[in-house]
Amino acid sequence: MEVVRTNLLAASTAPTYHRSVAGLDFEKLVEEYYLPLYRFGLSLSRRESDAADLTQQTFFLWASKGHQLRDLSKVKTWLFTSLYREFLGRKRQQDRFVETESSAEALAAQSVPATVVNQLDGDIVQRALFSLEEIYRAPLALFYLQQHSYKEIAATLEVPIGTIMSRISRGKAQLRKALADDVSLMSKTEEEQPHG
């Protein structure tokens, strides 16, 4: 796992920057990226089986077409962009629903302290992320996976940097609201439970 990371980092500064990727070890690449790709796929599709399928398809595409990529430093972006395009392609076939950006007014800032988030069950956080509109969910998932800089997130999702910053900001506001709603609901449920 470390070997690939070292190679990729070295490739971004060394003279071999534009070396062909044909020799890149497939198994090491899978080891390095299958988990973050699966998590990204899950945040997009919200279904484990679809996420697993998207991840498999991404590596299938890499094995079939990855040799065409000449810049070794672009492997990570290539993989995440391919998964995202695959997801969008499948989604287009399923529906024609167009999501619009929420107005700032609709996303009044709600406070959920980090200490509260730390104590929350992972499923609640996952559910809150899944509840976001897709245009916020995709950049926010990449943001929290911490595999990409915000500039790389913009490149992966093929949108301008300013748009990504704005979507991360609004996505966080939506996430806070969803978490606050969940926390509030949990408090009410606890209060309503009979004591004894």
Binding site: A22, V30, L35, S43, T55, V125, Y144, Q146, M165, K172
Partner: protein, 248 residues
């Protein structure tokens, strides 16, 4: 840069992940001048860390990596690489031809070596409660899912089909897909059916005797049927495995 602009930029900033370019540095300086903004930034980054830890701990389905590696298509290579591979292949072919007679003589021994490895590997998957690709108490649903996945469709032995299924999963053995279906049996125990293409275990011939093999507390019973090799694995002795065989 005013504080509102600085906050928008810093909401996308993660120390150690994003490079501190001129814009980030300017935003950090702006936020640092105001204690309220500094507190906001501290809380913002703590929130990001907490969410990030949750998102980064989502597990992948068990066996996903194995399936990705097993279904890798043959890589497309350049013309030069194909030439080199062709030459290497020709040399390898000559070497293989020289070995054919020995391999032919030893083919029985080869299969008998593969079967223990197969039984051992498959039992290792079920020693702990296996994570399944599909959990369903409906055998028809399981067969439908396997068909969709282009997995090997097994002929489930009648005595197993009478049990309640738990679910199924696709495993891999030496580049061959293996279909696993799990069934509930008495006392909360499970019975497992593995099916693989006979090319994975070429020495097993249809009509030959069932091969029993012990793997710790597990007993496996293996036989060939048409183009497939079937293996039942249960906790118990040979009689426990024999109960589910299609012919006893």
């Amino acid at each position: 840069m005013d504080e509102q602009q600085a906050r928008l930029i810093l909401e996308s900033y993660r120390p150690g992940v994003d490079l501190e370019d001129a814009e980030i540095v300017a935003a950090l300086e702006t936020a640092g001048r105001n204690p309220e903004s500094a507190r906001w930034l501290e809380e913002e980054q703590a929130f990001d860390r907490a969410i990030g830890e949750h998102i980064q701990s989502i597990p992948a389905p068990y066996g996903l990596k194995t399936r990705i590696l097993a279904r890798r298509p043959a890589p497309v290579t350049s013309r030069f690489a194909r030439l080199i591979l062709g030459l290497a292949g020709a040399v390898a072919l000559l070497f293989l031809l020289a070995q054919v007679a020995d391999l032919w003589r030893n083919r029985g021994a080869e299969s008998s070596n593969l079967l223990p490895a197969y039984a051992s590997e498959m039992v290792s998957f079920i020693k702990v409660a296996p994570s399944l690709d599909l959990v369903s108490p409906n055998l028809r649903a399981i067969m439908g899912w396997l068909e969709d996945e282009k997995a090997i469709p097994p002929h489930v032995p009648v005595k197993l089909a009478l049990l309640d299924p738990v679910g199924c999963r696709v495993l891999s053995f030496r580049q061959h897909d293996v279909t696993l279906i799990c069934f509930n049996r008495e006392s909360g125990k499970l019975a497992h059916l593995f099916v693989v293409d006979r090319a994975a275990l070429p020495g097993l011939k249809p009509g030959a005797a069932v091969v029993f093999q012990r793997e710790g507390e597990w007993m496996t019973a293996t036989w060939a049927e048409n183009d497939q090799v079937y293996m039942i694995a249960v906790q118990g002795d040979e009689a426990a495995a024999r109960r589910f065989l299609p012919r006893t």
